[in-house]
Amino acid sequence: MTTLMDTVDQPSLGARVKQRISSDERVMRVCMGIIALFLLVAVVLPLYSMMAKSMEDRDGAFVGLANFAEYFSTPSLFFSGINSLAISLLVTFIVIVTAFIYAYALTRTCMPFKWFFRLIAIVPLLTPSLLSGVSLVYWFGNQGIAKDMLFGETIYGPIGIIIGSTYWVFPHALMIVITALSITDARLYEAAAALRTSAIRTFFKVTLPGCKYGLISAGFVVFILVFTDFGVPKVIGGNFNMLATDIYKQVIGQQNFQMGAVVSVVLLVPAVIAFTVDRLVQRKQVALLSARAVPLEPKPDRRRDMMMFCFCSFVALLIILMIGMAQYAALIKFWPYNLEFTLANYNFDVANGGGWDAYHNSIKMASFTAFFGTIIVFFGAYLLEKGRGFAIGRGVFHGIAMLPLAVPGMVLGLSYIFFFNNPDNPFNFIYGTMTILVVSTIAHFYTVSHLTAVTALKQMDDEFESVAASLKTPFYKTFFKVTVPVCLPASLDIMIYLFLNAMTTVSAVVFIYSSDTQLASVAVLNMDDQGELPFAAAMAMMIAYTCATARLLHLLITRKLLRRTQAWRHR
């Protein structure tokens, strides 16, 4: 790495002054190089081997685009693409409309019980996406209690996928839209009122344009999530094929790795496009912010507030019904014939598909991911934001850090098989271990954590480092004395984000777990596969309890820390 760095700042003019790199800066660049190397091994190289694989035949000979030609001429596979697109667009539409109204109610009205609606909206984040599938089977499946509400239609197919997907992506969209609606300037509304603008006109001329970029961004996020999700279609999709389930079937079912790689590339392309457009859109959003904006205080309006309350109650009810059914099913002896309560479904060791070990592994995996992930991500973001010079290296690092967001979990997981399962790979030894699960999960959720850290670091005065340098204080002292304590809340946010995702994720790890490293979320999938739905429901609920507890702990710790060590925040 050092040789690479030395050549970057080569003088191009004869008299050009080149700043000597301080020993601090040298250490920082080496550290950044190491983290970049981690990302290279954890993201870039696996993706590369996946792409290479998509252009090979079963014997490993290069065949160019032949696999792609085969893919597009296979109608069933091609239609999966169409299905994925259609479902994703429809869910995006439903979720954005719902999330916008819900967020509007939370930020711009005086609706009662806002705290409750805020709380209930994040519940889907605490469960694997599979849970909605399991729950839907109990509601509308062949023996479902509300089966008749479908008027003879089956839940196993597009209907189930749409409902299930809507449920679990809702909070993701909601958070973005809430942020977009919170960033507003009350003076705009005062000006509109002073100009006697009608409420409707104000809504279309002020409110909507103000959160336009947030809505677009949320739309892209939802689209990518649904387009690349695997859990919901796997459990409730029946014979309705989608791209993500195709990969699973090709690889796990038929051991056709090449075709799996081809489908992955097909899945990757729209995701990368959506991601790129979203980044461009978000860049514009920043320009709208003004430091002197006056926060908007909503004024009561009985009729509107009541309508919003009804709407939010309805959404909240749906969420409660969804998770409630999963909990109920987990406690029932023999659905639908014996509705007595029992804890037998929690006796995972008698189930096929993963015992209590899977749950313990999940806890271990999530803890490692949260701990090491936070350190790597935060330190990486720090080096990126607070180092000096070395613009090219910095740009490359940032680019790699942004990449994982565009890579669907399934694609990442499959890439890991190709890359790490290769006996020639020096990292081959981590295959089948806990380490590879942790590495893949950190890589999978790197970008959002990275952006959280960067945002927190950007809020710190850049001159801290200048002052420290003038006082000849080594960078690590400033880092530990100032940067880490000031950014502690953000670090805890990253930690909980990584933990929750590690607990609930299925898509990447489903390809790379081994019999020793079975995970809870994967167990839910396998139990469902084996027809052991009550166990699946119970295991999904175990994940939910764990996530809820972690979330609560995070809240308490953050509060306590803020009160104790961060007294300086208050005047």
Partner: protein, 363 residues
């Protein structure tokens, strides 16, 4: 005023400094000497390159070309941590999670100093900046002026040879600013630390600096003592940026004489040839209202277009055929206004004293 003699060895020697940001030239061939214990102000409008120059001296944004020597040591390519300076920023940049004491001690803690020594040094510094009892507070609990003093104490803690101040007073309100101006100047004089301050506020520069470096568009327009710069600006830019100045387009009609249309003024024209187009300038306070009829030398009859009341004096806007479209203002004391009974619309005779007129090349 302790004006540095030419023979004195400079403490900081800047030679042919250039800084480019891509196509944009932020500093163009800057050469400057700064002497020991001197208080120098870089003064100019925003974007003139003054902060860029300061950051180059600190090594925070390295120059594209050129050299800097500090105490005879070439520091041109050194990273900031290997240079000898203390710095205070406009944003204070106080570490928010550390108490005032720990902020000030920040640079001392890694110098193998004993705890007692650090603590007594901090106490000394805090009383030096007038905050002896505030050590246990956090920065957010202090006022802006107090925070700036802490920043100053922190910068001085390690006894640097050079103190850099980057618009240190800009974020403060007017009263505090005026007060702190005196304090900083006084402190600097007592410690005799070589100091460079960047500011866009001419009043700050005039009151605090031993020498002012006037900058515009990446070049040094003029270097000199505040009096020099105010009384003998070397360019129209310096004349306009510092204080207020009237500008009139004119032609050198003869040696020692310029003409505005048919009207002639006596003044020093030694730097210009007869016939060259020039800008005649005079400060509002140098214009004299006299009793005459506008027929004496350097005198013009003008109508008072408006009167701006500024407390201790009044500023008159003057109209005259001689001035054409130029906006000419004259400052008159309140006594003068009372004695002469001047009102908007009054016609008066104004004189431009020969020795106070300065002429510049036409812009």
């Amino acid at each position: 005023m302790n004006e540095p003699a030419e023979s004195k060895k400079p403490y900081l020697k800047i030679r042919a400094l250039t800084k480019n940001f891509g196509e944009f030239v932020a500093l163009k061939d800057i050469s400057l000497d700064i002497f020991e214990s001197e208080f120098v102000c870089f003064l100019g409008p925003s974007g003139c390159g003054k902060t860029t120059l300061l950051r180059a001296i600190a090594g925070l944004d390295i120059q594209t070309a050129g050299s800097i020597e500090q105490e005879g040591r070439d520091i041109s390519g050194l990273p900031p941590s290997e240079r000898d300076f203390g710095i205070v920023f406009q944003s204070y940049a106080l570490f928010p999670n550390l108490t005032v004491t720990r902020n000030v001690a920040f640079g001392l803690e890694n110098r193998r100093m004993s705890r007692d020594k650090v603590s007594s040094r901090v106490t000394e510094l805090l009383s030096l900046v007038g905050l002896p009892d505030q050590g246990d507070k956090y920065p957010a609990q202090l006022s802006g002026g107090q925070q700036q003093r802490v920043a100053l104490a922190r910068a001085l803690a390690t006894s640097p040879g050079l103190l850099l101040l980057d618009e240190p007073l800009s974020a403060l309100d007017a009263k505090v600013r005026a007060h702190l101006r005196l304090e900083i100047k006084d402190l600097q004089r007592r410690l005799a630390v070589t100091t460079i301050m960047v500011t866009h506020d001419q009043e700050e520069a005039l009151t605090m600096a031993d020498r002012i470096v006037v900058m515009d568009h990446g070049v040094i327009e003029q270097v000199g003592t505040p009096r020099d710069i105010y009384n003998r600006p070397s360019s129209a830019f310096a004349a306009e940026f510092i204080g207020t100045m009237n500008f009139l387009e004119a032609t050198v009609s003869a040696s020692g004489e310029v003409s505005l249309g048919d009207h002639r003024f006596r003044c020093d024209t030694s730097d210009f040839e007869v016939g060259s187009k020039i800008t005649l300038s005079i400060r509002p306070e140098d214009i004299v209202v006299d009793e005459g009829e506008g027929n004496q030398q350097n005198t013009v009859m003008a109508d008072v277009r408006y009167i701006e009341f500024l407390g201790s004096f009044c500023r008159l806007g003057l109209d005259s055929a001689v001035f054409a479209d130029s906006d000419v203002r004259a400052d008159l004391s309140i006594h003068m206004m009372r004695d002469r009974d001047i009102d908007a619309g009054t016609r008066i005779s104004v004189c431009f004293p020969e020795n106070l007129i300065r002429i510049f090349a036409l812009r």
